[in-house]
């Protein structure tokens, strides 16, 4: 690759961000060289400076950030000293950007094709008519259905995966030399992700475009990039060719990233026949308005067991949780707790019934009241349910903080805004534990977290389960999480349980076709995985016959 011409050179790039009237360095001297037609993967945890570097490659800094040092040379143009007008001439024309959330980045008031032709017309590359024809051609290349018509829809009339592909096509409109992909598949379901990844890869190859691919998902970057750069807290950890990097990382940090997801829960002995499950969902049909979101759902959760409920967005996973907690009374069926039927509406349940089933939310940011200190956040359930007060309550809060591995003296008087994402999620766990429940619903608790942090949370949940004989219902779309934590798996699609059973069975063939599709769609660290999968699907295997729920 390196025999090609150099396109982008960044030397000693320093970027500062402003916090509390002070400038702090967030990118600390990063070097980067990109040749024509080459794809560079930037990976790292949140806060590593990936997106900031990606934007700096366009000579752009976000609001509240400034490029404070270093040089950015794009094909002989010094982007730092170039005039704003000159930079504007490059953006969209020679350097394009694909954002993480296509849904939020498209203007909802204009048709896709009008937004497509905006850049080429503005930059004088094509006339509007040419641009429209070109759009149809590129939509076809991006494997969008009905390329002739799809451009005449509005963003809300198109699914998330299609929108992300339309956005990539739009970035390609002026045939740029460089495209920056900022986590383009992070918000998508696994089955949709495959389509977007293969479409992006094809088009980048066809037009020999250089790309910077920003992601936190190693398996994804392994499919896309020629070389990978690992970042940590604004500094480069190491950079190498993709295969070398995957097979023989040299730095400890990189190794720890690679080793993540090694956590696996030991196989649990089978449940004795006749034991009453802690929670039993019996024939539940429920929905909003006249629409049935859940149709005849049945499963049991036993003490000390984790049941993972898996499915794509819209499959009814979270709705099931709402039925169990009583937020959404079912139309038919019932929820039993230790053999007793629970009132359908949470308002009719007794305090003790409410105490027994607790919930941990996906977004710890919105699940913790930002105006309450940890003392109150964690202490309130203990005060309410167990009648603890004064000294005893403080003692209990301190115990709970110890349990979730946070130093009580340091943390007890903090507000949620003074915690990191992983710590907030730990507080969510402590709040659930404070009620001393038998059953906890974990709703995508790790999906908003970095892999290393998520690993810590999973280990903690596992430890607590053994200590307090808890039953977990684990809602997730991430099959890697399922592998590491579940005892039993329930696969859902469009409100119906497609398949259920012990984990060992679920990950062994034969599968239900939909389960097969889900399982095969989980990216693997092997750089050839995507090629193999696409070949297999073309041959009719690996769940090719089933439609993903996202489309």
């Amino acid at each position: 690759m390196s025999d090609k011409e150099v396109l982008l050179t960044i030397r000693d790039l320093r970027i500062e961000g402003r916090a509390d009237e002070e400038w702090l360095e967030i990118v600390k001297g990063v070097d980067l060289t990109l040749h024509k037609g080459e794809v560079l993967g930037l990976i790292g945890e949140s806060g590593a400076g990936k997106s900031t570097i990606g934007l700096a490659a366009m000579g752009f800094a976000r609001d509240g950030c400034r490029i404070s040092g270093g040089t950015i040379d794009f094909d002989g143009i010094d982007l730092r000293s170039a005039s704003e007008a000159k930079r504007r001439g490059l953006r969209g024309k020679r350097i394009a950007y694909v954002a993480q959330s296509a849904a939020a980045s498209f203007n909802p008031a204009h048709k896709l094709i009008d937004q497509y032709s905006e850049a080429p017309v503005q930059h004088g590359v094509m006339s509007r008519g040419e641009a429209n024809n070109d759009a149809v051609e590129l939509y076809g290349k991006m494997q969008l259905p009905n390329p002739d018509e799809i451009g005449f829809r509005y963003p809300h009339q198109v699914s998330g995966g299609q929108l992300q592909r339309a956005m990539t096509a739009m970035a390609m409109a002026c045939r740029p030399d460089l495209i920056i992909f900022d986590e383009p598949t992070t918000a998508l379901d696994v089955t949709t992700q495959i389509e977007v990844l293969s479409a992006i890869r094809d088009i980048v190859e066809q037009f020999d475009t250089a790309a910077i691919y920003i992601t936190h998902d190693l398996a994804v970057v392994a499919q896309m990039a020629d070389k990978i750069k690992v970042l940590l807290k604004g500094e480069e950890v190491e950079e190498a060719d993709t295969r070398t990097m995957l097979n023989a990382p040299t730095q400890d940090y990189t190794k720890s990233l690679w080793a993540v997801r090694s956590h696996a829960r030991p196989e649990q002995p089978p449940i004795e026949a006749g034991t009453t499950p802690v929670v039993s969902v019996k024939g539940v049909t429920a929905g909003y308005g006249t629409l049935d979101v859940l149709k005849n759902i049945n499963f049991d959760i036993h003490a000390r067991r984790t049941v993972a409920v898996v499915g794509e967005s819209g499959s009814g996973k979270s709705t099931t949780a709402r039925v169990i907690t009583g937020l959404l009374p079912p139309r038919e069926g019932e929820i039993q707790f230790n053999g007793q039927t629970l009132p359908a509406d949470y308002r009719n349940r007794t305090k003790d019934q409410l105490r027994q089933a607790q919930m941990i939310y996906q977004m710890a940011d919105t699940a913790l009241n930002p105006k309450q200190k940890l003392r109150e956040l964690i202490g309130r359930p203990a005060q309410m349910y167990l009648g603890l007060n004064g000294k005893a309550l403080e003692e209990r809060v301190r115990n709970l903080l110890d349990l979730i591995e946070l130093e009580p003296d340091d943390y007890i008087d903090r507000l949620p805004s003074e915690l990191s994402g992983g710590q907030k999620q730990r507080i969510g766990i402590a709040r659930a534990l404070a009620a001393e429940p038998q059953f906890i619903i974990c709703d995508e608790v790790t999906s908003a977290l970095d892999q290393l942090v998520a690993e810590g949370i999973l280990k903690l949940l596992d430890k607590l389960q053994a200590e307090f004989d808890l039953a977990y219902m684990f809602i997730t779309h991430d099959l890697a999480t399922v592998k590491s934590i579940a005892d039993e798996v329930v696969v859902m699609k469009e409100g119906v349980v497609v398949e259920q059973g012990p984990k060992s069975e679920m990950f062994q063939p034969p599968h239900d076709p939909y389960t097969e599709l889900l399982l095969s769609s989980v990216p693997e660290m092997d750089p050839d995985w995507l090629d193999k999968l696409l070949e297999e699907r073309a041959a009719g295997g690996a769940g090719a016959a089933v439609e993903g729920a996202g489309n």
Binding site: R18, R349, T366, A367, R431
Partner: protein, 309 residues
């Protein structure tokens, strides 16, 4: 030339105001405890000036009997004296020969005090009902919201006049009438803000925990709705203040002989034709307080919105 001199005076006044603001901020930062002074440091000069003015108004209101040279209602000299005619009456006298300065000082007490009580009452009614409507929803929300819609459909000042003629003019009645009318605006805001908070996961968690309505309002929702409500309080205060002055000007507000800036403008209005600035003084007092409060509110809104320039 006259225009230029006017511009110069205006520039001088603005510079003096900003200088006063700067001095006040420096002094305030020096004397307040660390947490408060850190916040004060971020105050722009306009807000500092506003705070200084508000403090002066409050001091004047509390110390009225000490500062005022004459009593509020006593006739002490000839009518319609120009400011400066007699050194005993710094700002001249009104249509009955009462000292303008003394009446201005006492009026600060009446007008500002009544406006504050009215706004506070409007906020208690409006925000409690608004939060209730947002949490409970359903028929209660419909009932309250539609009632508010009906009340808001009638122009506020005309509605106030109408109600006051029905229930009779007294200070208590006026406070109640204005509070009820103004609480409809507060209701709208409180409901809209709370709607966004009610859907948060932490409120759902609190509901599932089995928390009662009162605790949901006071511990979970109100603390998170405070910033916009406080900012609105400042704005509402100005409007209430102007409504009281307007009602007094129309003769339905604070009744004579109690001093009130609105009524004072009315009483001395004819003097403006003789080139006497006296009627403009109470008007200026109203304007200055309104502007000052708005300066402070702007700063608070800016902080609450989390915008940084």
């Amino acid at each position: 030339m006259g225009f230029l001199t006017g511009l110069l005076w205006l520039a001088a006044a603005i510079i003096a105001a900003m200088a006063a603001g700067w001095l006040f901020r420096t002094a305030a930062v020096a004397v307040t405890p660390r947490g408060v002074s850190k916040e004060l440091k971020t105050a722009p000069l306009t807000a500092s000036f506003g705070m200084l003015m508000i403090i002066i108004y409050i001091l004047v209101a509390f110390l009225a009997p000490v500062i005022a040279p004459f009593s509020e209602t006593e006739v002490v000299g000839p009518e319609f004296m120009f400011p400066g005619d007699d050194p005993a009456f710094v700002l001249g006298t009104d249509n009955l020969g009462r000292d303008m300065l003394s009446r201005m000082i006492y009026a600060a007490r009446n007008t500002v005090g009544i406006a504050f009580v009215t706004t506070a009452l409007a906020f208690i009614i409006g925000s409690v009902l608004g939060l209730l409507a947002a949490i409970v929803g359903g028929w209660l929300d419909q009932l309250l919201s539609r009632t508010v819609d009906v009340l808001m459909a009638i122009p506020a000042l005309i509605f106030a006049l109408l109600l006051l003629t029905i229930v009779g003019t007294s200070i208590i009645n006026m406070i109640l009438v204005i509070a009820v009318i103004d609480s409809t605006r507060v209701f709208r805001l409180a409901r809209a803000v709370a709607m966004n908070i009610v859907v948060m996961d932490y409120v759902e968690a609190a509901k599932l925990r089995g928390e009662g309505l009162w605790r949901l309002i006071t511990r979970e929702i109100l603390p998170n709705a405070m910033a916009p409500l406080v900012a609105e309080f400042g704005l509402r205060f100005c409007f209430v203040f102007l409504t009281i002055s307007a009602l007094s000007f129309l003769g339905l507000g604070i009744q004579p002989p109690t001093a009130d800036w609105g009524a004072m403008v009315k009483d001395t209005a004819t003097m403006i034709t003789f080139g006497n600035v006296t009627p403009l003084l109470p008007a200026a007092a109203i304007a200055l307080l309104t502007v000052s409060v708005n300066f402070v509110v702007d700063w608070q809104l800016h902080r609450a919105s989390g915008l940084k320039e």
